[in-house]
Symmetry: C2
Subunit: 655 residues, 2 copies
């Protein structure tokens, strides 16, 4: 629908009128005519199209049309003027004797104005896309995209905290917006083009443009909501830089307008063109995505030692063929839980994509690592600061995982679903992730989170009882769930076959326990029955929320025990947690369980291999006993992986 503009005729005068191609001028001829005027005529130059409402017969053959209170003239021009005022309209008024009483001349200058963005999502700004002001999900969708400019192309701070363009490279992280105009070189006197946005949206995006001296200037930002241009060039390019992710109080949509203003106090807009962007969500990568780089911490020069672990990881990573970064003691300051410190993700627009590290609010000794060591050119950074009393162990990102792609009763999640742990919803005194983190995760929309029950564990992370691994059949993956009952069954089998005297922890410095001793410990059995129920509750929830069958789940033997903490008793793993693994393609790095041996071979390892290798996976057992397991974490907790982004483009999701 063309924008309509009501225009007044000033009889007895020649009036200059600025007209925007694609709009329509509505002129009520009667409104300012002398009351005694009874007839009128209209003559236009060839470049002006006109039409009289309410007159169906070919009115232009009659120069004397009756003037009534509904004599309304509609004018339009189909292309920009070559010269000022080259669209001419002459309106004449006549009295009841058809004698000329007054005439008005309009000199129309037609200009073309279009604020343009990449609304068709091909990485290039097209011209005047009819859908540029709206958003539609899906492969047939439309709508331009912004990236949160949270990398640091120059200096030490993320670019979204800067109010300047530090380097030309930074422009590539921004979305281009082009103001295209056509028509005579100058706007008629007093007219202005004004670029503007709302205060709320200016908190989420800022706009730069190139100055004549080659520098870039900030033209729209918080506290700088509009910018006027009295001159224009044929094409003006703007760079829109995203400042923050969608959240509870920000839908992710940002609109920018260009208005053509007529002089006056205040100036009146006679035309407005609008574009809209959506902020790209932060996207996590599940275990089925190919690994690019593995991160572990070194304990070198520490009293205890993780050389075994580092060796194991080196071998594994070499086998897989991805990179390994060993974070030195100097940087990790003794904090070994690199999984908990941060979560890798990425953001994507048609014109650009880069990884973004989400720095957990946990803030222990690895705290500075993501900001100082990861953030950089084309490597973004995001974090939140929830109130201190809201941050507990569940805020660590061993408690933040993501499933492989699933389809749940017709609804497709091509980027998987986020999985986090918390207390039961009715437990008002339970531990949960802070609402800041949960709101952020939910607001990203594309990987709708599932909240599991993990508060039964001392540390309380979902990675203590689940992992997703790739599989060559079925849905392309399996959900591995820790199973105390599977562990008991395994041990009962040992006892039945006469291996009741086989011992846990033979090769490591811990209290040895025979299978027989373990099986007679009724407290431990009761506790594990309860832990199994907790995991079963999560199993039922995951089956429902990810639409999984029993055959999509593998029960991995894991035992827990109750340990005493300041805050009371809670579950920790009894032997190294074989579900708490690192997944690198088909290769799994699994905590060496140090279980009872038969014929010199650990039966837990053997069972894990039996369960997983038929899926096309390879089990690599890594000794993490002293440095990790005895400190309440295993291989997954002590490592982190940056993975390949999805091929699937998030904006093609059907919502």
């Amino acid at each position: 629908m063309p924008q309509n503009r009501t225009l007044t005729v000033d009889y007895g005068r020649t009036t200059d009128v600025l007209y925007v191609v694609g709009t329509q001028l509505t002129i009520n001829l009667y409104r300012t005519a002398l009351p005694s005027a009874k007839f009128f005529s209209v003559v236009c130059s060839d470049n002006v199209e006109n039409n009289l409402s309410h007159i169906t017969w070919p009115w232009w053959f009659d120069n004397y049309l009756p003037l009534k209170d509904d004599s309304v003239l509609l004018l339009s021009m189909s292309s920009a003027s070559k010269e000022q005022g080259d669209g001419k309209v002459k309106i004449q008024l006549f009295d009841d004797k058809r004698k000329l009483m007054a005439s008005a001349e309009l000199l129309l200058t037609a200009i073309e104005i279009s604020l343009d963005v990449d609304a068709d999502r091909d990485g290039v700004v097209e011209k005047n896309n009819p859908n540029k002001a709206s958003w539609k999900w899906g492969p047939e969708g439309h709508g331009a995209i912004l990236l949160v400019n949270c990398d640091s192309d120059s200096g030490k701070r993320p670019d979204n905290e800067k109010t300047y363009v530090g380097t030309e490279e930074d422009l590539k992280d921004m979305s281009q917006m082009v103001l295209r105009t056509a028509g005579p070189k100058e706007l008629p006197k007093g007219h202005t083009l004004k670029l503007h946005m709302s205060a709320h949206e200016a908190e989420a995006a800022q706009v730069f443009t190139k100055k004549q001296n080659g520098d870039y200037s900030l033209i729209l930002a918080s506290g700088k909501l509009s910018r006027g241009f009295s001159k224009y060039t044929k094409e003006m390019t703007f760079y829109v830089s995203g400042l923050k992710f969608a959240d509870n109080d920000f839908s992710g949509l940002v609109r920018i307008h260009i208005s053509l203003l007529q002089p006056g106090t205040p100036e009146t807009p006679i035309f407005t063109d609008t574009v809209q962007f959506k902020m790209a969500p932060w996207i996590m990568t599940p275990n089925v995505q190919a690994p690019l780089k593995v991160f572990v911490c070194s304990s070198a020069d520490s009293s205890s030692d993780n050389a075994n672990f580092i060796d194991g990881m080196k071998k594994l990573v070499q086998k897989v063929g991805c990179e390994l970064q060993i974070i030195t003691r100097e940087v990790n300051r003794g904090d070994r839980w690199i999984q908990d410190e941060m979560e890798f993700g990425y953001i994507q627009a048609p014109h650009k994509s880069f990884p973004v590290i989400f720095d957990s609010p946990r803030d222990r000794d690895l705290d500075n690592f993501p900001y100082n060591e990861l953030m950089g050119p084309d490597f973004g950074y995001v974090t939140f600061k929830p109130p201190r009393d809201e941050v507990n162990s569940l805020e660590s990102f061993g408690n933040l995982e993501v499933s492989p792609p699933v389809t749940v009763r017709g609804k497709s999640y091509p980027l998987g679903r986020i999985v986090i742990g918390g207390a039961f919803p009715f437990k008002t005194d339970g531990r949960n992730m802070s609402s800041a983190t949960r709101n952020f995760l939910r607001a990203q929309v594309v990987q709708e989170p599932i909240v599991l029950f993990s508060d039964w564990l001392a540390v309380g992370h979902v990675d203590e009882f689940l992992s997703f691994v790739p599989a060559k059949d079925r849905k392309g993956f399996r959900l591995l769930l820790a199973s105390p009952h599977a562990a008991y069954k395994l041990l009962q089998g040992l006892q039945e076959t006469g291996h009741g005297q086989a011992k846990f922890f033979e090769d490591v410095p811990d209290v040895k326990v025979t299978v027989d001793e373990l099986l007679t410990n009724e407290t431990l059995h009761d506790e594990n029955d309860y832990y199994q129920r907790c995991i079963d509750w999560n199993r039922d929830r995951l089956k429902n929320e990810l639409d999984l069958d029993e055959d999509d789940i593998v029960d991995i033997p894991v035992l827990y025990k109750s340990a005493e903490f300041k805050t009371g008793k809670a579950a920790v793993s009894f032997y190294p947690d074989t579900v708490n693994m690192i997944v690198l393609g088909k290769n799994l790095g699994i905590a060496k369980p140090f279980g009872p041996k038969v014929d010199g071979k650990c039966v837990v390892e053997k069972e894990v291999v039996r369960l997983l290798e038929p899926l096309g996976l390879m089990c690599n057992f890594i000794d993490d006993f002293t440095f990790y397991h005895l400190n309440l974490g295993d291989v997954h907790c002590g490592s982190n992986v940056r993975r390949k982004a999805f091929n699937f483009k998030w904006w093609e999701m059907e919502m």
Copy 2:
């Protein structure tokens, strides 16, 4: 899809299992069987349905089924148990020689649990509606509805500020929620039913129930997020009371859950049923709705006097046949602008509807009127307190109007659209309604607001240049727009016909001005050209946002003049503003313009009559000159109307 619950078999024991009808128990038979068990058999009582996954042949003919790691038994019961444990399941395990090794007995007690609401919107709580946990707009939609309990059935405060049920009448404003259960009288030992909701949603609704002594107790509220029941009766009725309207930070959706908890530390939910409510929006009533009661202020015992005005209003109201309330000087304390103080609206649920007064944050001398005089039984109250520096003249509710029902390019607004005034969006220093008020209006969703440009006026209200009146043809209404050009045309007509010496304000105490004098005042003419442009901008916007044609708009002659204020020059009406009218059915109460007379008759009145009476309307001119017009307001500003609610139910809107 039935809720699934994973259950563990304890071989060698008889286990009591609480089962909820409509769910399915999943039992992995292999998980806790001794490793040497090779076969199994299952026998169930008639009331237990069972099915073995992965076994397609009629397994029940063979008592010795091979036990594999995917031997999964599914159990369900179709109705509540008559006695504890009357659903019997016996599972037997055999070794490779088919010798009995162990058996397990499950004693299932089936109960029915359903948390019920009026999800089909007929005013009655039905049983276990499959859509009770979701919301769908439209005539074929579903989803229960809550009212903000903002009336005051007892005492001096609104009921949504009370944490008790003041009177039985108050229960009718709440939505019923029924917990229906069937099965043996008592829950097995240690089991609990827990009603719960989230902290965020508990800010928006609270739940009461009747105690045995007949009193009502608050069972869910902020800081009281769950309530357990170890006993239950067949039907327990709860009363859900809405506390606040949808807003920027509250979607309007409230969910309440009932969970069946199994003993343990913590207790584990084995079943959860959820219902959802949507908070009814606050709905305004346009001028086309029939009037019920008119409100005006009396100046009695004041130095100036509005007896003329009161007389005029009395006659008008008598003619229309609705009620009139004259707010005494004692109550109004000299504040005459009852339009600006408040806006009438209503809220509606299938079970109940009542009017709700929205008290403007303007807070002048009428401030206490809505709270003290209007709020009461079945008369609700809502207000906001924006930061003081955000409240300016545009916050008064002469600046808050609503259009009649419209359809805009296929999108239907059967309750019309809200119309408010503000500055141009790019004018960062312009006056606007506070964001609190704008966010609230937008969040009601059903009457999506349109923001016009009213900041050109000194007072700055949309009712200074527009009004909607009913019409018997076209869309059922006309938009009346003030037109300085129409006024000039009228005066030019007078001059042309020799009445240039006719005077404005002959019968009132103001400076007399002849038509000739007025027409020679070029400054005034230029100013009015500008005001016309401002109104034309609004005209174009309204045509677009309400999908109006030129023929849906009537131009009413109104002149403005520029007046000097502390804050600068701004527009006020030159003669009483004939658009600023009260609309009572077909009868219009219009400010008597005191324009120039011809043959003893005011030509402005005559012109207004000529324009409006053909639409089936009757013009009643009321003298508001001294007490209102000279104080910058006219009939509409000095009156307010409570109108009939729409027949159309808001939840039947297509969104």
